[in-house]
Subunit: 207 residues, 2 copies
């Protein structure tokens, strides 16, 4: 190496994440990323093969951080704690959280799927996380993990907390305290293993 680099790889990754977090996937044009860093667009291509690679690496970075925060709790069979752990994680990971939780990978990558190394890395992360998740489902039930059980767990641990969090993430505002209350109450009222009472035909009316 003979010339000292003015910009680092993570400069570009962070800029891409911030742009997507603030303005959606197609706000992160190569020119916008470069402009945010203060570099020419050509410099991005010295470090990354393509835009898809930049976004892929950004996604894997954010996802790995998310997995680190939740997987240990899942492995210990603590669904409610895992769901609640999303709150401090997103508080401590501003742009990362908005990038990861506000965007669906399918919308981000459908037009330009990330190249092989990133694909493989993501699959690795996902299978590791799924292992932890399955362990949690089994631990919380009678040992089985049928389709309904898995769907309930996914909802309780990921989809519901994220849905509750979404309006505040969108506004870029810190989540108010009642968010924690909602998640706690949700898990208390609707366990992963359906309570026997609800296995019978509906005998209760909300009217």
């Amino acid at each position: 190496m003979v010339r000292t680099a003015l910009f680092s790889e993570t400069d570009f990754i962070d800029a891409a994440m911030a742009l997507v977090a603030e303005g959606g996937p197609n706000a992160a044009t190569m020119q916008a990323i470069a402009r945010r860093v203060g570099a020419p667009t050509g410099s991005i291509y010295h470090r990354f093969d393509s835009r898809a690679a930049v976004l892929g690496i950004a996604w894997n970075t954010a996802y790995a951080s998310f997995v680190d925060a939740l997987a240990p709790l899942l492995r210990r069979g603590r669904p409610c704690e895992a769901a609640l752990a999303i709150l401090p994680w997103s508080r401590e990971n501003g742009h990362r959280a908005r990038f990861l939780l506000l965007n669906e990978p399918v919308a981000l990558f459908e037009d330009n799927p990330p190249p092989e190394p990133q694909r493989a890395r993501l699959e690795e992360l996902e299978s590791g996380f799924d292992e932890a998740f399955q362990a949690c489902v089994v631990a919380c039930g009678d040992g089985t993990a049928d389709e309904e059980r898995v769907a309930r767990a996914k909802f309780l641990i990921f989809d519901a907390p994220i849905a509750i969090l979404r309006p505040h993430l969108s506004r870029g505002a810190p989540p108010p305290p009642y968010v924690e209350r909602m998640i706690t109450e949700l898990h208390a009222g609707m366990p992963i293993a359906a309570s026997p009472a609800h296995s019978f035909p509906m005998n209760r009316a909300d009217r």
Copy 2:
């Protein structure tokens, strides 16, 4: 009128909805819409001002149908029934449902906001629906509609059912029966008006 039209306005609207439902927002290019209908792209511009107008009208159409299905139940103060009504509605409105429920308007319209007439129409629909929603929140509580109450109701009536439905909408498969069970149980276990037990500091542990 002197020449009979080969294609109708709704042909193009439906094609746009189907394309977005199947492949996300940027699958609905003007050429793709035209190709699906079997018309030249120019014909679209005879009926609509722009791509934004096409998507705007499509959105308003789907949203109006959704409002028709849910608003009456909300006005009568039936949150659980309203949440459950999303299921038959989405079953009966294949492309419409996937178009409306699988896409966030912000992602669909951020780059090209729909022109004035569609904007105004949407605002009209939204304010009417919000009125019904607020009535429901008030009816289900002690007469107040504070921020937390509203957030809980939004989650219970819209976000949670849609999150539960999402995987099946994405696959294009009919939702299995346990989806109905999950929504019913969710509303039973976590009412809009927080149960007094949960107003106290957490006294229960999930561990």
